[in-house]
């Protein structure tokens, strides 16, 4: 399961659906990214490129499945206007053993932050600005030794 959503996503419901479908798994790991509250951001706008963004998420999904022994993987990403406290991304992996599931989710998140055509614009009291992946995000990605 992977898709972009212009509407709010419900990580609990997504995880429940994913877990029910992963009948043979011995480990299920999920990650939910949330727009931070309390640091002055009033809105996060998620822009995307119809076609290229879905293609990018598909590549992350396929690469994660190829690299790790996972039975299933789910990637759901918000687009559009997201408020502080709202989920922005949900990633889950099911595997026979926990290590593969942890690593697949970690890997998918690093790739989503640095490779997939998605762009964040935050709004604060003093205006708006586009956000780039941080050096830490690039360093996290480099752990996987991915060719560009």
């Amino acid at each position: 399961m992977r898709f972009l959503s212009a509407d709010p996503i419900d990580p609990a419901a997504l995880l429940d659906t994913f877990t029910r479908a992963s009948t043979g798994a011995g480990a299920i790991v999920s990650f939910t990214g949330v727009v931070r509250g309390g640091d002055g951001v009033s809105e996060l706008w998620l822009d995307h490129h119809p076609g290229l963004t879905e293609q990018g998420i598909g590549e992350v999904d396929a690469d994660a499945r190829r690299r790790f022994a996972v039975d299933d993987l789910s990637i759901v990403h918000r687009i559009g206007s997201v408020a502080p406290g709202e989920p922005i991304v949900f990633v889950a992996a099911a595997a026979t053993h926990r290590r593969a599931a942890f690593e697949a989710v970690d890997y998918a998140m690093d790739r989503l932050k640095t490779d997939v055509p998605l762009w964040k614009r935050e709004t604060r009291a003093d205006g708006t600005r586009w956000i780039e992946a941080r050096p830490e995000d690039q360093a996290d990605r480099a752990r996987w030794e991915i060719e560009t």
Partner: protein, 47 residues
Amino acid sequence: MRLWIGRQYPALLEPTVRIALDDVVTAGTVPIADVTEVAFLPPVSGG
């Protein structure tokens, strides 16, 4: 083309700027003789 871009718009050759040819993100050296659209994607920030 890379040489021309490097002279005219060096920021477009930053490693965080991706290039898509006919709606396919590419890397490295690729023939563009039959390409109809070259797009430069600004640094991404998903997740």
